[in-house]
């Protein structure tokens, strides 16, 4: 069957909305809660129209009380519901960090395994919209530091459409990082697109010369960089981590064992970033596979600046990824 005929044109935003709609229809225990998710339609318009379809009880606007409503989501998850809590951006999630770290991530363990916290917390992340230093953070690396929670970062339409239901079915807390630049991403999706696995990384482009590891908002840039590398005769493999905790090290080091070279692209600040963790594990587990030092393309060590040229310089770009890849291959341009 010709797939292209039946595929549906959509956006990341609409795919995410469909995922929410499906979850709300499928299970009466599911509800969505957060700042401006209802009347306003969601700060990124993801939940637009859901209030009309599901009503105020299940599409629940909250006051600006991040700790209060994230904690309430955790309590509701402990008490037999499946809450989806939207935190407008990950910057604001710091106000709920106590609830996420001290309760969601610990209660299963502290109770000796008696209780699960099946909550999904969604938050926008990432720079690139000239929103300066308090609206542009990438905290997924921080959250990935914490045992007891799972971190996912949908970077494609399929994952925007399919990760939510799987995350809801996970008995443990899941935080979903949605890079805000992705909401307008357009593409095609199978009409029957649905739940996807959230256990494995995915090879988004196959190649033999080196491995580019990335996730979320940097996937598009990394794929563009791989295209440019191809024009230079370099065949790069691109791995989309998809799940940042736990890391699918089998996929990462399987690729490294074939290409022997790796560049990690991560919008988080370089010091202590997720990229640093992947590098460290590569040293521990795949040292003898390496033909060159692993390179990182990360966020610069600076609060994200407002001015466009400075903001662009502060986060990974196609050119810096290409440059790092070529240096790793000793093909410095």
């Amino acid at each position: 069957m010709d797939d292209t005929v039946t595929r549906v044109r959509t956006t990341y935003r609409d795919a995410m909305r469909e995922a929410l709609r499906e979850a709300l229809r499928r299970d009466e225990r599911v509800f969505l809660m957060g700042e401006d998710v209802g009347r306003y339609g969601g700060s990124y318009a993801v939940s637009k129209g859901l209030l009309e379809e599901f009503g105020e009880e299940r599409i629940r606007d909250t006051p600006l009380s991040e700790s209060g409503f994230v904690g309430a989501g955790i309590g509701a998850a402990l008490n037999g519901t499946l809450p989806i809590v939207e935190v407008m951006t990950c910057n604001f999630s710091l106000l709920a960090l106590d609830q996420i770290v001290n309760n969601a991530a610990t209660i299963r363990h502290m109770s000796g395994g008696q209780f699960s916290v099946p909550i999904v917390i969604r938050m926008a992340t990432g720079a690139g919209r000239q929103l300066a230093a308090q609206h542009s953070h990438s905290f997924e690396g921080w959250y990935a530091h914490i045992p007891g929670i799972r971190i996912v970062a949908p970077a494609t339409l399929e994952d925007a459409r399919g990760m939510l239901w799987t995350a809801l079915m996970d008995p443990d807390p899941v935080i979903m990082f949605e890079n805000a630049l992705l909401y307008n991403l357009e593409g095609e999706l199978a009409p029957d697109a649905g739940a996807v696995d959230i256990d494995h990384a995915s090879v988004r482009r196959a190649g033999d010369d080196l491995t580019l590891v990335t996730y979320g908002g940097s996937l598009g840039k990394t794929l563009q960089a791989a295209d440019e590398l191809a024009r230079n005769g370099v065949n790069a493999e691109v791995i989309d981590l998809r799940t940042l905790r736990p890391l699918d090290t089998v996929a990462i080091f399987g690729s490294l064992a074939r290409t022997h070279r790796m560049v990690i692209v991560d919008e988080g600040w370089k010091s202590g970033a997720l990229a640093a963790e992947i590098m460290a594990r590569a040293m521990e587990e795949s040292f003898y596979e390496l033909d060159a030092p692993i390179a990182r393309v990360c966020g610069a060590e600076v609060p994200i600046p407002y001015a466009r040229h400075l903001e662009e310089a502060a986060i990974p770009q196609v050119a810096t990824i290409v440059d790092a890849a070529l240096r790793t291959l000793n093909k410095h341009v």
Partner: protein
């Protein structure tokens, strides 16, 4: 035991019910005294926060709760756990860090959990349990259940943002939460008047349109009556209620506290209002029990505590190979991958 039924001073309690209040307060007092002893002997480690002096609060409030209600408490929660019916032996084994403990030794003194009792900790972040309580009640409301959620916290939590966010949310959404503020006057070593511009806790609750009452927390019958009334209003569906239970901790904040922030005279003054002694006197005056009857009750409690200690002593240490258990749900893929990594 048989004897005369109590007068109306004992609310509408039967003799057995009245004596059960006494027995539970004795159990908490003796359990905590034993814990202090075991701490000195090095059997219990970490932080240990004793409830001695505050027994009437947990015992009185717990009478208003039904089996389907959820309970959230603080790191000073042994009394609540005992009053809720969690066996003394599993709480004691938890203090020892044994696998037979109610939280399998993963929580310790500050994190008593029990699914059967719907007892959800044991939260050692001041104010951290309040948003959870809002969520428990929200889930009950969404799922059309009739349970309420009882949330115990100290007056120190009133200074936390989570207190204000939670009272507002519970009131805004008319959720069935019974907020039980145990005002023992000190947040660790900081007196209420040194931390709050306005020390009237009920006024703070009322500012969120939550009905609030202040209660003598040293009088188990007063606590019981106020809790029953507040719980009935919560169950009627009008939204949350707030009770300030005025009490006092006779012991230090934890086992590391030199108590530099209060005078011995003040402590002695409060000890004269000991909730257990006061209720004992009331029981005696009423003729519900004589000296030998009371002594028999004490002896039975002592036997229970002693058995709890034996149970904890005989408990086992979880194999270190199981260290990463219960970080993720065993059967979930996340758990598998985490173990592999």
């Amino acid at each position: 035991m048989s004897g005369p039924e109590p007068s109306p001073d004992f609310l509408a309690l039967t003799r057995d019910e009245a004596l059960e209040l006494a027995r539970t307060m004795i159990r908490i007092r003796r359990f905590e005294e034993k814990c202090a002893e075991l701490y000195a002997a090095g059997k219990i480690r970490g932080f240990l926060h004793l409830y001695i002096g505050e027994e009437a609060v947990a015992v009185g409030a717990m009478q208003a709760l039904k089996p389907e209600d959820a309970i959230l408490a603080t790191y000073r929660e042994h009394g609540h756990a005992l009053a809720r019916g969690i066996p003394a032996r599993t709480i004691m084994a938890e203090m020892y860090g044994k696998y037979e403990g109610c939280s399998h030794g993963r929580g310790g003194s500050m994190h008593v959990f029990d699914a059967h009792a719907r007892f959800y900790g044991g939260n050692a972040i001041v104010g951290g349990g309040l948003p959870l309580a809002v969520g428990f009640a929200l889930a009950d409301k969404l799922m059309h259940r009739t349970a309420l959620t009882a949330c115990f916290f100290g007056e120190g939590a009133v200074a936390e943002g989570e207190f204000h966010e939670s009272l507002n949310l519970a009131a805004l959404w008319k959720l069935p939460v019974l907020f039980l503020c145990e005002n023992n006057l000190y947040a660790m070593g900081t007196a209420l008047e040194r931390s709050e511009a306005d020390t009237d806790l009920c006024e703070k609750a009322r500012s969120y349109r939550v009905e609030a009452h202040s209660v003598d927390g040293m009088d188990v019958l007063a606590v019981m009556q106020a809790s029953a009334e507040a719980a009935a209003r919560v169950r009627a569906g009008t939204g949350p209620q707030f009770l300030e239970l005025k009490t006092y901790r006779f012991r230090a904040h934890s086992m590391f506290d030199a108590e530099l922030y209060r005078t011995k005279a003040e402590v002695e003054q409060w000890k004269k209002r000991c909730p257990l002694a006061a209720f004992r006197q009331k029981v005696m005056q009423e003729g519900l029990l004589d000296e030998s009857g009371w002594a028999r009750m004490e002896a039975a409690v002592e036997a229970e505590i002693s058995a709890a200690v034996s149970y904890a002593e005989a408990g086992t240490w979880e194999p270190v190979e199981q260290l990463t258990r219960d970080v993720y749900t065993e059967h979930s893929a996340a758990g598998r991958l985490a173990t592999e990594c």
